[in-house]
């Protein structure tokens, strides 16, 4: 992609949830969701409503099914033959596990941020516009504008503007994670899923990412799986606590951290076990 000497700056449309007419459910609603891997019951009858425009953190000890649950939201289990899922999962009132649900359209609605940043094997700018290109946006100017807008949104523009065409793998790991976020935002999702998105980063990079989440939460529904309780305390609006495949407690961050209803939650957040 050629760089333009005088970049065209266009205001990108703000992505806000475009609520389907007649849909009164929260953005993501999980109904009686069960997940089995071979014969192991991994997720047990999960019921959960994730509200719009806020940060929801899923916490719990290792192996409790947090990540597995997150991955059901954009059907990343589709390719694993051993996995069987029952129950319903509504995204914007559409049951994404219904037979006629179209998976690429569902995934386009969500940006996923993995534990380790995973840049695609191409240049920085091509990474950002990978999604828009897939969905048919053409023209150097348009793509450049998108790339610039999203890189600015994640605070990476100034660091990379002189080397947009170098391989993304040359960036530091913290920069790559922001690049991945920019790449996810470029498809104009409504939901952002983060799977321990800061756990591989140094403290400063992870602080940058956290601040980014907070700054964009008025426009996106953000769901984060996190291992660090402190992170959840810092940025969560809502908290879901899981234990051994069950959803133990869900509530506002204030309520869960300061006034947990369940004994297990209390023990976990006070550091009784991890």
């Amino acid at each position: 992609m050629e760089l333009l000497t005088e970049p065209l700056i266009t205001e990108q449309p703000k992505t806000v949830r475009t609520r389907k007419p007649g849909c009164d459910k929260p953005h993501i609603e999980v109904e009686n969701l069960n997940l089995y891997i071979q014969n192991n019951h991994i997720l047990k009858n999960i019921n959960l409503s994730i509200p719009d425009k806020s940060i929801t953190c899923i916490i719990g000890p290792s192996g409790c099914g947090k990540t597995t649950l997150l991955r059901t939201f954009n059907r990343l289990h589709d390719d694993s033959v051993d996995v069987r899922i029952t129950g319903k999962l509504f995204v914007d009132c559409e049951d994404i596990y219904a037979k006629d649900a179209e998976v690429t359209h569902i995934r386009k609605k969500m940006g996923l941020l993995a534990q380790r940043p995973c840049s695609l094997p191409m240049s920085i700018i091509d990474n950002v516009v990978y999604g828009p290109r897939l969905h048919g946006i053409r023209g150097k100017r348009n793509l450049y504008a998108i790339a610039r807008h999203q890189l600015e949104a994640v605070g990476l523009w100034d660091e990379v503007k002189d080397r947009l065409k170098t391989p993304a793998s040359k960036l530091s790991i913290g920069q790559q994670q922001r690049l991945c976020l920019a790449r996810g935002l470029a498809v104009e999702p409504e939901i952002i899923l983060g799977d321990e998105a800061t756990s591989a980063l140094d403290p400063i990079s992870s602080k940058t990412i956290e601040e980014l989440f907070v700054s964009i939460k008025d426009r996106y529904t953000i769901v984060l799986v996190t291992h660090t309780l402190r992170q959840a305390k810092r940025i969560a609006d809502y908290v879901a606590f899981m234990y051994l495949g069950e959803l133990i407690e869900f509530g506002t961050a204030d309520q869960v951290f300061n006034n947990p209803k369940h004994k297990l939650t209390k023990e976990y957040i006070s550091g009784g076990f991890s």
Partner: protein, 298 residues
Amino acid sequence: MLKGRLRKDKIARHYMLTVTILAMFVLLLIGGGLLFKSWPIIQEKGLWSLLSTSNWRPFKGDFGFASYIISTLYVTGIAIVIALPLSLLTSIYIVEYASPKIQRAFSSGVDLLSGIPPVIYGVWGTLTIVPFISEKLAPNFVEFSTGYSVLAGGIVLAIMIIPLIISILMEVFGAVPKEMREASMSLGATKWQTVKKVVVRKSIPGIVAAVVLAISRAFGETIAVLMVCGNFTDLPKSIFDACYPIPALIANNYGEMMSVPKYESALMFAAFLLFFIIVVFNVISRIVLIQIDKRYQL
């Protein structure tokens, strides 16, 4: 106690180093030996005349290798052109689309294929490919073909290198991290888009390496090609003409007619030529790989 351990460590290292150097030395030994043996004919005819003429009349002292070199390149080229797309699609299907059950069945099938002795491929080619070309295919393009041809050699060779390429490509595609596929898919890419833009792209160095290995193997493949390519010394004008690759030349003639002056030296030169082509080819492809890595850092 500690001293003994350390001494063993040292001995092991030096021993392995020696063995490694020895292995490399064999390469030089073979190259040097072949060059030494072929020196008389190079001195008499001159390198350029050996390479550029195609007269082959040992009794009169004419030794021109052009038609053998062309035949070798021709057959190998056709083989890779046929084999690469087929192997690419097959290995993509096996790795990306097939269920684990099919994957297992396929990969053991591929291993089996690469274990079949070349002579069987040769016989099979003679029985099926050769008549097919002479009766069905060639009449559409040329007046007459015996079927023993460049094309027959290319097809048989392609079938022989396909399992090799597939098994390497399966490793290569399998090595692309799952997270990378998920990153692409989570942006709304279809499976095919992911394969095309991420998996294959990431695998380019591996694909190049697979092709290099396959070509090196194809250059040297002797018996199966020899059985179907006609072994006729002339520059092949079309893919339906007979040809005579270098390995076939050596295999057919070495040990016979050694009373003819310079004949042995000429065949040694053929062997050296083959050796040289493969070495140069490998060096070039190594450079290409380094360049790819430098430029794209995949």
